[in-house]
Subunit: 242 residues, 6 copies
């Protein structure tokens, strides 16, 4: 099988260039601009000394996420959700996914009865915004936790492990890592995988856009994702050293 | 490892008793009550001679789904979404999943410029409502297509294959098929799997509720789901023969 | 005047076959499926240990109702209210009517500072859904109260009398009891009557759909309703003996 | 039985002083301020050369109503519905009632494919706002129809008869006509009656607020309403002569 | 330059006839009908013994305003905001302006932890509704404060000065005071000016509808407004003497 | 009077450092990041080949704006408007102001029946976001128009002049140009001024936050704004030369 030709001669198992810029804005406890190629997501982490009703009085904290896309982050302008008066089903799915992914590596008891709110806003979209958001939000969450520790509010970090995410998919019969928008539009199967630094799965969401996919395709996609996420975790950790 | 004790001495790889009652109500083109143990979902299929804007003039049809739960389908009464004025994120995720799953086996060109709307309303919930809904909705869709063929509107069925779904999960370290509510609340990992009659994947949605899950756990879950769905497809086909 | 011909050779003063099935679902304190011919409404009663703000601290309880129709309970699919984001004026009128009707026979002081919520969901509609809902909701409320008494929460029943309802109308000049959908669409005057077991009026809502109606027509309709409701109260009481 | 003492020594079968002021505002085709004692409702009639979707192409017109209350029309300020973002169930019930009542005396075919919108806004409330609104709206509709005839748009009036409304109720066991706010708050049974100039019923809406009411009480209330509405129709006609 | 001809031969620096009717309705603590020519706005002031969250526990009160227009206050019927389910941007701008203007002359500490709510509802519109509303609301607020002082709740008035407002604009190159609807539609520049009794500015909102305006035009408009508002303050004070 | 001490030793009549970065994102026809000190607003211009209903068939185009703030653009996180389901009154006021300001320099006839949508999203807020948005949006609009001319869609530019905006205010009795957040919070009077390149006024919106302001203060503020805007127009033009 001739390999699918990817933009920039990228190999099928290669990530796009990833850039992580901390302190991108000045007010938030964590403020990370993450770029996967042309996809750019601003992830801020806010500490709030309150928890949602279901956690009140439990001694435990909460981690939640909100996701948005600037209207002209995309090729064609999309309607502003605030103007329409509601978030789409897609937006809600994504922000629930980001929240669950981050909570998977948080010890909510150690966090104490406070919240970390992760706002992931897409400035420019070129595929993989939700996986970039998870990967960037974890770095922002680290900065927020560091500020709590620096202020003496926490003595131990409630973050037990890294978490990062990547998309994989089958395009023209070939499994590819980290799809850009063009590849995503052309793919038969699209899967978002979220894993911990230890290499375990937090979320797997695979969808057959066109033809249903076989078990062996699934295995190949999981292999790609596993290697890609390991690389992303290295990049997250290296960004935190700067 | 001692096997987890399941209600009714169910084996870890066994489905709950499944019942499929067609023509449960009188007005819809397809009207199926599906039961997975105590979970009861009414799935109706409505044919509408119109399509949403994005399909107009394309010559192609559309298949979509809506999902609801009666307020007292659950242990504790849940607020009525119509009264609150909006559907929860959970509801939207589920109805998008049902719609995608059904479209995966539909030839929209053969359907022609008309819609099939699948309404899945949970009368009683005991775990696995979304997978029961997909499984029942396919039977209702078959009845709706049969009515179109009987009326001479269609000469060939646009349904290319069966589609069915089941949940699987890891409870106390043990992979189980078709979780009931108690098992679902206790599980570490919960996965919903949608497959075709041919045995390919349409959707895989796995979430670590507690601990992240390993690749070998994932493989075990996929094995369980594959066998369970094959059994469900047999039950769907047998119901259509009555 | 030639009598109007009714489906199933029903006499002008005859109810449709009425069936009351208790314990139709498993979670609610009361769960009644009531059928007036082809009209089928699921009425559940939920006990909640709280009251709305206007009753707090009063020592008195509250009884309220919500009403819904499954989208395909009707000949043509109606839009799902949860998806539209609001309940229609019709839905609100009906649920306010059900609530007032039930409260008319409740001693809210004896109920104590707790609520009974009656959810009336139409599975299949063929005329008279609101009157079936009131009639069924009363049976469900009885079961909920019995559960409170069985648990020793209440020692005396706060239900002072039965309440039931029926529609009457003038079709082609002839007063008829318990209109089905076809009759309802054809009638000039439509009246919903709610009465107690003692034979007093709780609500009378008459509307001239076509020609205005005379005082003597009104008297004939009230006579029909009175006899029909007496029969319904007998059926309610007999269902509670099973 | 000692007669209930009414404000201003009003007899049990007497209306409050009724005043009908036409041309109260300058822009609308009909603009009537109607007063029943201290209750003051501004009723405007607007002619629009369009009909709602369900009437398009039918050659028939439409008559509809909207109802509102200024926030401080009442003793205690009520929240502004526009600010809350929705109309209460009560508002919707009332505006549906006004619309049905006016349509009952309109020949929609003669009206032609245009609409008359009746806006009934309560400037000051002291009981009976919905019945005052119906009574005033009919006068405003007459003025709107007259303007259409004066302009030669219509050659025959589509209004077949008068329509007016009044409330009646049982207070301390005594049937009373045209309840003011204090009487309405104290009454056991409250009934709104809408009748034509010919003396037939358009709507009867009776509700037992406290004790259920007997058939003989109902008869007494209907007698009171019948006489009161006959008087209101005389006042409407006399106002139109000015 | 030939002077623009104004309705009623009004001079360019003349107000329309202004009428202020106190106690126009009976329930509110202040209830003023203000008329600027054909523009008629009902301004009620309500005292509430509570403050919004941002003032709770501060010992300070709050003054706020809501604005509405009856659907047929205008030439063409405008949609009812309560029916649409939201207030337009224009409505929100106006009610925020009225609230700020009134607060500018209130000593919130002297008011104590209570609110005055000013409801400004336009019964008839002919230009300048927001400036009439501010001018009338101040008189209603005075009446509300007087009632608090009469009841002994306040011993000193929290109102430090008068506040009134007027519109000015450039029509066909000529600066005019107090534009009516026809002039407003024709003007190039429209400015709303709010000033205190002492002659200082509270708000200046100028908008070039057509051509941008020069500094000298601005100066001329401010001169006109200053004189017009001084006259309005005299009228407010004289109304309070009645 | 001792001059107020400003951050960075800024003079009372000095702008903060202004930076204009074109092509900040890749999809929009115009995409400008504008910075006034720490205030950073992303302004994108989108060309759409359609106009709103009120312009259809007129041969004229439309220019409109939407405004948003990322939740953590501010010191304290503000609630996401899309999640709340509505835009605040403040947001609506600002986006209406931006739209009017841009339309003031557009020849809508020359634009032809198409729209330019200006999305102004605040990434970081430190006072003056609305005036930065107007100033940046004009540059983005220029880029969008240039793209239309480059593609031959337009032969003459519909932009007649520059438009830019700045805030001015009185802090501790001293008139200051271009307030940052700290100054804005402390000021007695705050005025936003929008002017054309030719030096005429498009909008003047002055508000006394604390004490009302005198005519001479107003004159001083207008002088400051005039000079500041002239400087901003030079910076806009210079950015377009890059």
């Amino acid at each position: 099988m001739t390999p699918v030709s990817r933009s920039g001669d990228r190999a099928s198992h290669a990530l796009r260039p990833v850039r992580i810029t901390r302190h991108f804005t000045m007010h938030a406890e964590g403020a990370v601009l993450i770029e996967f190629g042309n996809t750019r997501v601003l992830c801020t982490a806010t500490v709030e000394e309150k928890v949602p009703p279901h956690q009140r009085g439990s001694g435990k904290g909460w981690v939640t996420a909100e996701y948005g896309m600037l209207p002209r982050a995309t090729h064609k302008r999309s309607e502003r959700e605030a103007a329409k008066g509601k978030q789409t089903g897609r937006t809600q799915e994504i922000q629930r996914l980001i929240g669950r992914s981050l909570r998977a590596v948080f010890d909510l008891e150690l966090l104490g009865e406070r919240s970390i709110v992760l706002d992931c806003d897409v400035l420019q979209a070129d595929g993989g915004t939700r996986t970039a958001a998870i990967t960037g939000a974890w770095v922002a969450a680290q900065d927020a936790v560091s500020s709590l520790m620096a202020r003496g509010v926490l003595t131990r970090s409630p973050i037990r492990d890294a978490v990062a995410a990547v998309s994989v998919g089958v395009v023209q019969g070939q499994p590819l890592l980290d799809l850009d928008y063009g590849e995503d539009s052309a793919c038969d199967t699209d899967m978002n995988v979220v894993m911990t630094g230890a290499g375990d799965f937090v979320e797997v969401q695979g969808t057959a856009e066109g033809a249903a996919f076989s078990r062996s395709e699934m295995d190949a996609l999981l292999d790609l994702a596993q290697a890609g996420i390991a690389e992303l975790v290295r990049l997250q950790r290296s960004a935190l050293l700067d």
